[in-house]
């Protein structure tokens, strides 16, 4: 649903860096995407191909690494995986308290660009 604004942003950041570094072409964009974001890799690439047409980043590959959602225990600091679509409780596997917070799995982060 919100592929368009997300991909526009990714393209803009990539092109800004491409201009700054005077590159001829952007070949690939390495991204980290939080698991809680619902965008599909295939659709992201599809939108990207469309938006990037005719520019320096045309047909660049989106290399997407999904960042798993994780919880952290506020008592002992243990970090453990969070299964968003299940009814499992959030009990810390180490100290068995239930006060755990979501600390990872959101957002979009551009790591680097492969360029010519």
């Amino acid at each position: 649903m919100h592929e368009l604004p997300v991909i526009e942003k990714i393209l803009k950041v990539a092109l800004d860096h491409a201009v700054k570094h005077r590159v001829k072409r952007v070949l690939a964009i390495h991204l980290e995407v939080g698991e809680l974001s619902d965008l599909e890799d295939q659709w992201m690439q599809h939108y990207f191909d469309h938006l990037s047409e005719g520019g320096r980043a045309e047909k660049a590959r989106l290399v997407i690494e999904r960042i798993p959602a994780r919880l952290q225990c506020t008592q002992c600091g243990e970090i453990f995986p969070f299964a968003a679509a299940s009814d499992e409780s959030n009990v810390c596997p180490v100290c068995v308290t239930g006060d755990c917070r979501l600390i990872a799995g959101k957002g979009y982060f551009i790591k680097n660009l492969e360029v010519l």
Partner: protein, 223 residues
Amino acid sequence: MSDEIRLIEVKEEIFADNRKVADDLRKRLQKERTLLLNLMASPGAGKTSLIVKTIAGLSNEIRLGVVEADIDSMVDAETVVKAGVPAVQLRTGGFCHVDASMVNKGLEGLDIKDLDLVILENVGNLVCPAEFDTGAHRNVMILSVPEGDDKPLKYPLMFSICDVLIVNKIDYMDFSDFDIEKMRSRVLRLNPDIEIIPVSCKSGAGIENWLDWLRSLISDQGG
């Protein structure tokens, strides 16, 4: 220039610039002592009804304004103006959410200095609005009983970013298999700090709890 493939470090959050605009807006409004609430929900969950109830309950004590974001209609703003408070309609022109720059634009249509509270009615869906910081001081979402108690499993991001969850249409509870305790535990595992307020905009049940939450928020702010 060589033809070798190089790697350029970027290390950039893609919504960093929106967050900056949102932070600036939050600060500006705080200086004006105007509180901005971002209200999100699926279409039909009761966003406009809750706003109308809020106006009815608070307009004697608090100066309220409303920004209505809609893909392409004026219906909601007209309803709100009829209820007696200033409202601006923000047409997103096909966009499924509003971001901080759009809110800035919408606020130009209101006299912020004369308002204690502005409610932003975001575009109706549980996906996109969760990704974009609007500059609001608090995020509020509505889940209505007919939508089902499984929504926190399907839209975890939305439930994880809200300060308040209004469970609306509790008058439907007897006709549905909505399990509020199940929903509560699903929501709290995503967001242990969230305030859950069951209401019925139709019967008025629970509305006073919502108004009290708003009152205390505004008085904390130094109102």
